[in-house]
Symmetry: C2
Subunit: 135 residues, 2 copies
DNA sequence: ATTGACCTTATAGTAGCTTTATAGTTTTAA
DNA sequence: TTAAAACTATAAAGCTACTATAAGGTCAAT
């Protein structure tokens, strides 16, 4: 299987595959005589694992960490679960921050109707005055 | 006022100030004979405006846009409000996406207690199987 | 023979800074 | 007075996770 087929199979771009290889996330495949990469089905599974981790918002470093656990399959999996717990709490704090931000933005927006000149715009005034008791 | 004092006043690093100047967000100040930048109070206000916009999650490009409106104070402020509306809807869609992600992560996490070997870890199995019916 | 689709590597660009390197200037302490 | 500490300057690289571009080699079909 060449790189284009693998890319289509998993739904990524070929450059992304080369990038993962370069980053040490995907093992380097064998090469044909002409230098073309030849992938196995196992590569497809590895790549799909990486993509699903990315969809879950894990960083490449975190994926690397998960892979290192997989290399040692008889260890207890507490570290895996801890990684996920950390990620969940990270996502939750992002949500909280964004919700606070939304509130702030909506209240700022409410300070202006559209029928003013820039000079008198409530939004710009709100930002400039800086009564942003955030955090 | 030199760059260090301005930085302390507004609560940013000196490099950030130089960066904003380079990006055209902060007007270049006068220089002393030795080349040191000399800032006015007005620079402090401009910089504070930029920082508050950043805290609100606006991109440098959006800040640039707001500044261009401020340069033309007798235009109607509809564009300012539209920019904020766009940003609010952007923030809202981020929140929605993160909430869906959190759900997915929590359910994945529930598939494993800590008392297993990596080989049998429910979390890793969940990612590998890829029954992630997302989006 | 040449077009088109595919593959290769290397390099630069994205956002918003932060870090590092190297060097000159000013202030302060001994 | 001098030497160190603290400040300033510029330029360039690093960060994340790719994406895009350039310049070229390979292969099948026409």
């Amino acid at each position: 299987m060449r790189i284009g087929q693998l890319a289509q199979l998993v739904g990524v771009e070929t450059q992304t595959i080369r990038f993962y290889e370069q980053q040490g996330l995907l093992p380097p495949p064998d090469r044909q005589d002409n230098g073309y990469r030849v992938y196995t089905e196992k590569h497809g599974e590895w790549l799909a694992f990486i993509r699903r981790c990315r969809i879950l918002g894990l960083s490449l470093a975190e994926i690397h960490e998960l892979q290192s656990y997989q290399d040692d399959p008889h260890q207890p999996c507490t570290a895996v679960n801890a990684l996920l717990d950390d990620h969940i709490s990270h996502v939750r704090s992002q949500i909280t921050a964004l919700q606070a931000l939304e509130k702030q933005l909506v209240s700022l927006r409410a300070s202006c109707n559209d029928d003013r000149e820039v000079e008198a715009c409530g939004v710009l005034a709100g930002i400039s005055e800086g009564n942003m008791h955030q955090q």
